[in-house]
């Protein structure tokens, strides 16, 4: 199992977990934690940020996995390494040949390492760091050189008489100039000593951070003497450069002139005098304007220095804002679903309605994705072609002005960037080579462009895509809108559905339910690993997050609605049951009559069919009733969290008195194996981070138990 996933879920070798393999729920035992170069940055292809809790990689022996799929000896993924030193052109050639070789077997077309997601993220990051590593120090060194220049120039100005004396007594120009350069060198040496110390420490911290985030196998930060020397030399160079001007001034100072106090600086009538604007300026303003005019170069450099400082600020904020803006547009305007599910294989369109009946699902919109190669003239690009539901709400195409663009019933919508790459404009026709199923090749018109901020995508109406694929209503997955309190339950249901190959929960959806379900702030856990605990012993205390009246009203309304829904569902079960019993009786009677020859076999079969239909209906009704019952439970649990918590005095010695808290008690005698969440934080029900960690051999029973309050 991949390390990030194991850590995020608190799994260790020896633990078991369930997984749907080839449509069957199977238990797997973890035998080891591993890292893979393919998943240094462990992220699902469609995500913006890694979600280690819900996305991980499991490696099994090919024999075992092949057996599970009844496909011994088969493979569906292959990595190749090119001969060392192979030219770039070779890669394209290998890819082309590999594609031709694997096409008959359903190959989805190969790609080079540059397009490999983890590699791309990582190399982008490294490239970015390299840029920052050059740009930021350059700015800082520039400012430092400028400061040294200013400081030393001032110093030379104030020490001109001393300089004159030294010169009068026979100190040479070089000695005087060198004296001021040495000032800068001393500053550099002191700065270098401190900077090297901080740099080594910070480098180690950042290196550690990177190693943790990217799961590098080696956590070592190396800064050889060469790097330090280079840094010191570069800094010294900048400092000397800054000092040079002042040193030159000092050495060029004629001793006789230096003996006298500095003559008043020479001023000439400047711009405002020539423009006749003098009277509009107060005397003090005139001082400023003339000072600036007298030393335009100095003013310019000062302005530049300040400009650069502002640049750093603005760029820093820009990046922050840009990421926030992208995330906002992406999640508020484009991807509006809480949950995306992807089926193992394309399913008939009605699968969407089955999904809609799952607990907590408020809305379900199907989509179809097809791997395809788009071709226009000599340019090609491999992408996932998206078929969206017309008038869909959960996944929308958004123009630059954030206005929604309807998916045209015919033709294809491309992101602007993709259109640029392919060199197409609306109205052009491009060739779509589907890399799935019968691999049709079709010409499709570019109907429009969208300016999405992330990724390269091509969209079609799902029906148009079905037509292109020469298939009936077929979907690859569904976007879901989910009732937040039920989200955790839905997640556990979805995980066990054999047809579902992938589930991606939006962080926001999870944050949403964290907010609504949060029972409170977990106080610091004082227990340590290995501590024995007795039955009934208090393990943790939760201080409830205050729930406001509005939330309370919402919870109440939700409970009412859920109860009404449950009553309706129960009634439907009753009706279905009655209908089924009636059908069973009809069937029985038909059996008897036909055995006595009083009814034709066709009539008997008819009653059998009716009975089967009602049996199915009852099954669906029972399922719906169960879901409704769960909704009621969830709504009630939310209400309970607000009202009836255990009352008690805060036991924390000396701490501020809090009115109420919830205690979590140990249900059995045992020993603390692991404390996953030691420090204070807001926790929610069903988050295993604190509940499952404390007790031995009870992980599964705790996590799957209904919300506990």
């Amino acid at each position: 199992m991949s390390e990030a996933f194991a850590q995020a879920n608190g799994l260790d070798p020896g633990d078991t977990l369930g997984a749907v393999i080839n449509g069957r729920w199977q238990r797997l035992r973890i035998v080891g934690i591993a890292l893979s170069p393919e998943y240094v940055y462990e992220i699902r292809g469609t995500d913006l940020f890694p979600d280690n809790k819900r996305f991980g990689v499991l490696w099994m022996s090919r024999d075992a996995l092949g057996a599970a799929f009844d496909m011994e000896g088969a493979f569906n993924d292959v990595s190749l390494s090119l001969a060392p030193g192979a030219p770039d052109a070779m890669e394209a050639e290998v890819i082309a040949r590999l594609d031709r070789l694997l096409e008959p077997y359903g190959g989805l077309s190969a790609y080079g390492r540059r397009e490999q997601i983890s590699h791309r993220f990582l190399s982008d990051e490294i490239a970015q760091n390299r840029v920052f590593g050059i740009v930021l120090p350059s700015i800082f060194l520039g400012v430092a050189a400028f400061l040294i220049h200013i400081v030393l120039s001032r110093l030379v100005g104030t020490q001109r008489e001393q300089i004159a004396v030294l010169k009068a007594f026979g100190y040479g120009n070089l000695a005087i100039g060198g004296h001021y350069v040495r000032f800068a060198v001393v500053a550099v040496l002191a700065g270098a000593a401190v900077g090297t110390g901080i740099g080594l420490w910070w480098g180690r911290v950042v290196g550690e951070l990177y190693a943790q985030f990217y799961r590098f196998p080696v956590r070592r930060f190396d800064a050889g003497p060469g790097a330090v020397l280079l840094a010191v030399l570069v800094s010294a160079g900048a400092a000397v450069l800054g000092a040079l001007g002042a040193a030159r001034r000092a050495s060029a100072l004629p001793p006789a002139e230096a003996m006298q106090p500095e003559p008043p600086a020479s001023f000439r009538p400047g711009l405002i005098e020539r423009l006749g604007l003098t009277r509009f300026f107060s005397l003090t303003s005139r001082i400023i304007v003339r000072d600036l005019e007298r030393r335009p170069y100095k003013a310019l450099v000062s302005t530049m220095g300040i400009a650069l400082a502002v640049v750093i600020l603005v760029v820093g904020h820009y990046f922050e804002d840009a990421v926030r803006h992208i995330a906002e547009v992406q999640f508020r305007n484009v991807q509006r679903d809480d949950v995306t599910i992807v089926f193992n294989d394309p399913r008939p369109a009605r699968a969407v309605y089955e999904v809609a009946y799952l607990p907590g699902v408020l809305r379900s919109e199907p989509f179809r994705t097809v791997p395809a190669r788009l071709r226009h003239e000599h340019r090609t690009r491999r992408i996932a072609l998206f078929g969206l539901a017309p008038e869909g709400e959960l996944r929308r195409l958004v123009g630059q002005d954030l206005r929604t663009i309807e998916v045209p019933s015919d033709g294809m919508v491309l992101t602007t960037r993709l259109a640029e790459i392919l060199g197409v404009a609306p109205g052009d026709r491009l060739t779509v080579e589907v890399l799935e199923g019968k691999r049709p090749v079709r010409a499709v018109t570019v109907a429009g462009l969208v300016d999405e901020l992330v990724g390269l995508s091509a969209y079609m109406d799902v029906r148009a895509l079905n037509r292109l694929m020469s298939e009936g209503g077929t979907v690859s997955g569904s976007f879901l809108l989910v009732d937040p309190p039920v989200a955790p339950h839905l997640y556990s249901v979805l995980k066990r559905l054999p047809a579902v190959g992938g589930v991606s929960f939006r962080k926001a959806a999870l944050a949403g339910f964290e907010e609504t379900l949060a029972t409170g702030r977990l106080s610091r856990i004082e227990l340590h690993e290995g501590d024995p605990v007795g039955r009934g012993m208090v393990l943790a205390r939760l201080t409830p997050v205050p729930i406001d009246a509005r939330t309370l009203a919402q919870d109440r309304a939700r409970l009412d609605a859920a109860q009404a829904e449950k009553r309706a569902a129960d009634a439907r079960v009753e009706r279905a049951r009655a209908a089924l019993e009636q059908a069973q009786r009809e069937h029985q009677r038909a059996d008897e009559l036909s055995s006595r020859g009083l009814k034709s076999p066709q009539e008997r079969e008819q009653t059998e069919l009716v009975e089967a239909t009602y049996a199915k209906e009852l099954e669906a009704a029972v399922f719906a009733a169960q879901a409704a019952a769960f909704q009621v439970d969830a709504a009630r649990a939310a209400l309970l969290a607000a009202g009836s918590v255990t009352q008690g005095a805060d036991a924390a010695p000396g701490g501020p008195a809090r009115s109420t808290f919830i205690t979590v008690q140990s249900p059995i005698r045992g020993r603390v194996l692991r404390v996953l969440q030691e420090s204070e934080r807001v926790v929610t029900t069903a988050l295993p981070s604190w509940s499952s960690a404390i007790l031995p051999c009870s992980r599964s029973s705790w996590t799957s138990s209904p919300p506990m309050r």
């Binding site: 001393q162 004396v165 009068a168 007594f169 026979g170």
Partner: protein, 223 residues
């Protein structure tokens, strides 16, 4: 016309072969924008070994300018200055620096002490680059600062500060000692000359001395 006060303490006679410093037709013009300021106009002057010369003139009459040119700190606009047989007016910067280091001692109108060095270190700054210097301690003792060797300028009284430059100048045992109003930065009312003990004693050591001081009643003038 130049008027020179004759040094009374000089033991040597003016007839000795060759002047130590000889100036001919010295002129110094400062261009101040559109106006030219003639600080010196055709000055002729000879200074001999052992001579003690006092130069008197009102403020702004060109005393400091003349001393600077004689000391190799500045070059004249026209005219020549000879140190023995070395022409200072054709010397370049580097040669002038060497000339000052090897032969000249200065006491300036302003003390010009290095505030971050003690009295002894201020003197040592000069003796360090001289060939046959006095011990800094000795020269400071000569000017009566034997008890103030390790004091920084800020810890010295005004009068004491005044004497450190004198110690500094004599400690290198220069061939010529030039003092620009060494008595006080501004002449006292009445304009009488007041030489610090150290200076009068030090200048007895077969050194030519040029000294200038201003008198309010204008005891001399340039023409």
């Amino acid at each position: 016309m130049v008027f020179f006060g004759e040094g009374t303490e000089s033991g040597a006679s003016g007839t000795e072969a060759g002047a130590v410093l000889r100036a001919r037709g010295l002129t110094k013009v400062y261009h101040m924008g559109s106006v030219d300021v003639h600080a010196l106009r055709s000055v002729n002057l000879e200074l001999y070994r052992g001579e003690f010369v006092v130069l008197l003139g009102p403020s702004g009459s060109g005393k400091s300018t003349l001393l600077n040119i004689l000391g190799g700190l500045d070059v004249p606009t026209s005219g020549t200055v000879y140190f023995f047989d070395h022409d200072l007016t054709t010397a370049d910067d580097r040669e002038l620096t060497r000339f000052r280091r090897e032969h000249m001692g200065f006491v300036f109108q302003f003390y010009n002490l290095i505030p971050s060095l003690t009295a002894r270190e201020n003197v040592a700054l000069v003796t360090e680059i001289s060939d046959h210097p006095l011990d800094p301690d000795d020269s400071l003792r000569l000017v009566g600062l034997g008890e103030r060797l390790d004091h920084f300028p800020s810890q010295l009284s005004g009068g004491e500060q005044q004497r450190v430059p004198i110690a500094r100048a004599i400690s290198k045992r220069p061939d010529v000692l030039l003092c620009d109003e060494p008595a006080s930065p501004s002449p006292p009312p009445g304009g009488s000359c007041r030489f610090p003990n150290g200076l009068s004693r030090a200048s007895t050591r077969s050194t030519s001395g040029g000294d200038c001081t201003s008198r309010r009643d204008g005891g001399m003038r340039f023409s």
